[in-house]
């Protein structure tokens, strides 16, 4: 007796036999053919015999119930697909905002918001920023009651590069990252980057 190693589907996270119940069967199949072609035939058979194996599998619960089950699964699948599409659209339309807020003299801080859509753990990212840039970094709520990451120091470019890299790893290449500059002084000054003028 020994331990088994099991291949889990990267798409739906289930063991391969349960892909059909995840509602993502199409993409699961693609993933299996790409990564484990030898397992594909084991679970899904050849395209011609597929029907036959399906019938075999269904034999015990009766044709009527099997039909119903299949219908349900199809519905689940279409639902899932719709939801994914919506989510993707939302992700593509949303953008990350990096705000540079001037503090006293030549000091400033960076506030990053709009990351929650991309399933990024804010606290963790704040921690990595803090150690990466050797600076203070925390998560706080902004005016719209949304979470944002606040970094101390002028690190807009570095933070932007890092976020781009992070999003690329997640497969989101063309996410808009917008940079804004604001001054926290009473009189906003139009020339950015310049030393704050005295009133």
């Amino acid at each position: 007796m020994s331990l088994r190693s099991i291949v889990y589907c990267k798409v739906c996270s289930y063991p391969l036999d349960y892909c059909e119940f995840s509602g993502k069967l199409k993409r699961c199949k693609v993933w299996v053919t790409e990564n484990h072609p030898e397992l594909y035939s084991q679970y899904y058979g050849d395209t011609e015999t597929e029907e036959a194996t399906n019938k075999l599998a269904a034999s015990s619960i009766g044709d009527e119930r099997e039909e119903k089950l299949e219908k349900d699964l199809k519905r689940l699948q279409s639902k899932q697909e719709n939801r994914e599409q919506r989510e993707l659209a939302k992700k593509l339309s949303s953008k990350v905002i990096i705000k540079r807020e001037a503090r006293t003299k030549r000091k400033c801080m960076i506030a990053i918001s709009g990351l929650e859509v991309f399933e990024i753990d804010m606290k963790k990212l704040a921690k990595t920023f803090a150690s990466k840039f050797a600076t203070g970094c925390s998560v706080s709520k902004n005016a719209e009651k949304k979470e944002e990451i606040v970094i101390q120091g002028d690190l807009a470019d570095e933070a932007e590069a890092y976020i781009h890299k992070l999003l690329e790893e997640k497969g989101m290449k063309d996410v808009k990252v917008e940079k804004i500059e604001t001054k926290k002084k009473k009189k906003p000054i139009t020339t950015p980057g310049a030393a704050p003028a005295e009133e």
């Binding site: 190693s5 099991i6 349960y18 599998a57 015990s60 619960i61 089950l69």
Partner: protein, 181 residues
């Protein structure tokens, strides 16, 4: 049990002392004697076991970043990742194909789903009431859920009505998707 479960339910996490780890392993073996020859492979001596205490007094035990078993009261319950690696070690019941969908959305298993032609129950004398069981499905190789019998398997066969298995953990629930780090 894990219908709603997220990072917010985690109260504390700590590393387990090696002595505690040893007693944990003996407890696991006494609960599931078949595990004895492979326990060192599942929980290596050198590995660091992590204890995650959660809401409702649930405790998760992690080995190498994977939750291997959890504990509600006194009994250790294996997670599916654990079960998949060594399915022979646990008492098993099988449900028919029609039930899979419901089990995977977290429903308790009804007796007819355990007695129909596609399902399989262990032969007499069967399993006692309250036994921890692993649930597999017709024509499927791997387990899809872990639960506890609400009546003995002989009763399930004879009565054939009502809840048969209380579900603890199933494929696709929050514990399955739970990311340790």
């Amino acid at each position: 049990m894990f219908r709603k479960f997220s990072k917010e339910d985690v109260h504390s996490r700590s590393n387990v002392k090696s002595s505690v780890q040893r007693t944990l392993k003996t407890k696991l073996v006494s609960q599931f004697p078949v595990l004895e020859p492979v326990i060192d492979e599942l929980v290596p001596k050198k590995s660091q076991v992590e204890l995650i205490k959660c809401e409702d007094k649930i405790q998760l035990y992690c080995v190498d970043g994977e939750v291997l078993f959890f504990q509600k009261f006194n009994e250790l319950i294996p997670t599916l990742k654990f079960v998949h690696r060594i399915p022979e070690a646990f008492p098993t019941v099988q449900v028919d194909r029609g039930a899979i969908k419901f089990v995977m959305s977290g429903a308790n298993i009804m007796c007819p789903g355990l007695t129909s032609p596609g399902a399989k129950l262990p032969d007499a004398p069967g399993l006692e009431n309250d036994t921890l069981v692993v649930i597999t499905a017709e024509n499927k190789e791997n387990a899809l859920a872990v639960g506890r019998l609400l009546m003995s398997t002989e009763d399930i066969k004879s009565i054939n009505k009502g809840h048969g298995v209380e579900l603890y953990h199933h494929l696709g629930d929050c514990l399955w998707n739970f990311n340790v780090d």
